[in-house]
């Protein structure tokens, strides 16, 4: 059962402050074969806020993230029960294709993966081009817009046609963020986006996340608790496939309600 605690006024978790949740998850269970990886998760993810998902390895946090854009379906043994609604729309209903969900929910991965055969500009617009958008003007505009939003424009505006792999690790990750933003998703999922980066690049990504939350709903999986504490508004703690506690970030990291959360956050296990 979700332990959604009373939020402070004007906090993203305070539903009364006007915005309905971006994602409502009810009874989500995911099985890989017979192994139950997620057990009846109930959670409401606030819109235009950053929600961090923390927990030890193998607790199901990545699986939870991938369930939101139906990427867990890439595993042929995967089976899901329960419901996820994206701004009210059931993303698992029969007449909704996974492809449509993924255009509304973008994803950035742990290891940056810009397509090696394409230039920087081509990488940014690949989501648009391969979905049929041909208009040069739209593509150019969207390229600049997305690169600005990803705080990369100034660094690459003079070399948009250079191969994407000529960028540094941190730049590549921001390029992947720009690529995800170019299709204008409503929700952005990030799976440990800074774990492969040096501290300076990590800092830039965190600043970027705080900027982006003005327009996007962001869900970020991280094993770095200080990162969760620094950049998120709400935090959910998963353990062995269950949602143990969910609440405002400050509360989770100064005075969590559940002992298991306290133990994890103070480093007694995990």
């Amino acid at each position: 059962m979700a332990a959604i605690l009373k939020p402070m006024p004007n906090h993203p978790l305070d539903q009364k402050s006007g915005s309905s949740p971006a994602l409502t998850v009810r009874g989500l269970s995911i099985f890989f074969g017979t192994h139950e990886v997620l057990k009846k998760v109930d959670i409401d993810i606030a819109a235009r806020a950053v929600t961090a998902i923390i927990g030890p390895s193998g607790c199901g946090k990545s699986t939870f993230l991938r369930a939101i854009n139906r990427m867990h379906e890439l595993n042929p043994d995967a089976r899901m029960e329960g419901e996820i609604r994206l701004f009210g729309d059931n993303i698992y209903s029969r007449d909704v294709e996974a492809v449509m969900v993924r255009r509304r929910v973008g994803m950035v991965f742990q290891k940056s993966n810009p397509f090696p055969t394409m230039s920087i500009a081509e990488n940014v617009t690949v989501g648009l081009r391969l979905n049929g958008v041909r208009d040069r003007r739209i593509l150019t505009e969207r390229t600049e817009e997305s690169l600005r939003m990803a705080a990369l424009w100034d660094e690459v505006k003079d070399r948009l046609n250079d191969p994407a792999i000529s960028l540094s690790g941190g730049q590549q990750q921001r390029l992947c963020i720009a690529r995800a933003l170019a299709v204008q998703p409503e929700v952005l999922l990030m799976d440990e986006p800074a774990s492969a980066l040096d501290p300076l690049a990590t800092q830039k990504i965190e600043d970027l996340i705080i900027e982006l939350k003005k327009d996007y709903t962001i869900v970020i999986v991280t094993h770095n608790m200080q990162q969760a504490a620094r950049s998120s508004d709400a935090t959910a703690f998963f353990y062995l496939g269950e949602l143990v506690e969910y609440g405002p970030t400050t509360k989770i990291f100064t005075n969590p309600a559940q002992k298991r959360t306290e133990d994890y956050v103070t480093g007694r296990f995990g």
């Binding site: 990427m71 890439l74 449509m100 255009r103 991965f109 397509f115 090696p116 690949v126 391969l130 992947c176």
Partner: protein, 375 residues
């Protein structure tokens, strides 16, 4: 750890190092020998005429193997038309679509087939295609002449031929045996041989549907022998398919799954992701696999013996037999003529140079311009 011990171990090390080095060098030796031999024996015969002229008639000195060289290229092109699309798409299927049991069987089968001797391939195509359209003449019985033991058959093109029926003729019709029992209008296939100017029927069959279909296909041509360029291209193409399929699959598997996931996460449809992201990333590798398969089939001789067969003249139609370098080399080498032997050496040298060029080309293509990363 005495000093003696140390010296003994050092000696062992040096010995092993020397032994393994000798073995490695031994591998190069045959290649060098081959090259050396080919060059000394064949280089002298390589001249402009060798590349541009047709073979001279038996016994005459001179001439070239121009038609064989062109034939090799023609066969390679034909084989690629079959082998490359089927092989690449098959490799894409194996790599990108997960049907575990099916894929396991497909890979197993492909690997087994890769090990099948090429002569077997030749015989298969020979039996399935060359023979059915070759020897026989088919058509409708037009008339029967029992006294002169003749049966006249008219083929769909309108040509009528008379065949001598003898006691050795085997009949394979429902309507009994003997020339009298063949009513006009029956569809028949006649296997015959030439005896002087007479066409002597060896076997008369009622045509099966498969044979009839092949014959209709082959009705475009009038090759008596059934050997054809198409058959040669077909057999080489069939050999290329499992080869290209496996190399394509392996190259595609090397593409990190991160790219696939990233593309899917952008909402790109699976087939587009495969075509424009995965295959595009692996293009160099796929081309390498194709070129290596080409190099391999370019040198195949045995299957061509039964299918392309060889030709001393220019081949004008795809349904006619065609010559290829390996065939020419074979035919010349086992002949009793010195001049032909020389030309065989030269042909072998050209062939090996061709194969080497393809391999070197592959290496240049896959050469990495940026330090350290595999393409």
């Amino acid at each position: 750890m005495t000093a003696n011990n140390h010296r003994w171990r050092k000696a062992k090390n040096s010995f092993m190092q020397a032994l393994t080095m000798v073995c490695a060098v031994l591998v190069i030796l045959p290649l060098l020998l081959v090259f050396f031999h080919l060059v000394t024996q064949g280089a002298t015969s390589i001249n402009w005429a060798f590349f541009t002229q047709l073979p001279k008639p038996v016994g005459e000195v001179g001439g070239g193997v121009a038609n064989a060289i062109v034939g090799t290229f023609t066969l390679i092109v034909l084989a690629s038309l079959l082998g490359v699309p089927v092989g690449v798409l098959g490799g894409v299927f194996l790599s990108e679509y997960a049907y575990p049991r099916l894929n396991w069987w497909l890979r197993f089968t492909a690997d087994v087939i890769n090990g099948v001797p090429s002569i077997t391939w030749g015989m298969v195509v020979y039996g399935l295609i060359v023979v059915p359209i070759a020897v026989p003449f088919h058509g409708i019985v037009k008339s029967v002449d029992p006294e002169r033991h003749l049966v006249t058959v008219q083929n769909p093109a309108g040509n009528a031929r008379s065949f001598t029926i003898g006691p050795q003729t085997r009949w394979n019709l429902d309507a009994g045996t003997g020339v009298e029992s063949v009513p006009p209008g029956t569809a028949v296939i006649v296997a015959f041989h030439m005896d002087g100017s007479r066409q002597v029927a060896e076997q008369i069959n009622a045509p099966s549907a498969w044979r009839l279909a092949l014959l209709r296909l082959a009705a475009l041509h009038d090759s008596v022998s059934g050997f054809s360029t198409l058959a040669g291209g077909l057999v080489l193409g069939l050999m290329m398919i499992p080869l290209i399929m496996r190399t394509t699959e392996e190259v595609l598997q090397l593409v990190p799954s991160g790219y696939r996931e990233a593309a899917l996460a952008l909402g790109i449809a699976q087939w587009r992701m495969i075509a424009q992201i995965v295959v595009r990333t692996a293009t160099k590798g796929i081309v390498t696999g194709v070129l290596l398969a080409l190099a391999r089939v370019a040198g195949e001789t045995a299957p061509l013996l039964f299918t392309a067969f060889g030709n001393n003249y220019w081949t004008h139609k795809l349904t006619q037999p065609i010559d290829a370098l390996p065939l020419k080399i074979y035919n010349y080498a086992i002949s009793p003529y010195d001049d032909w032997h020389r030309q065989a050496w030269a042909g072998a040298l050209v062939l090996i140079l061709l194969v080497c060029t393809i391999n070197v080309g592959v290496r240049i293509l896959t050469r990495d311009r940026f330090s350290g990363r595999k393409p």
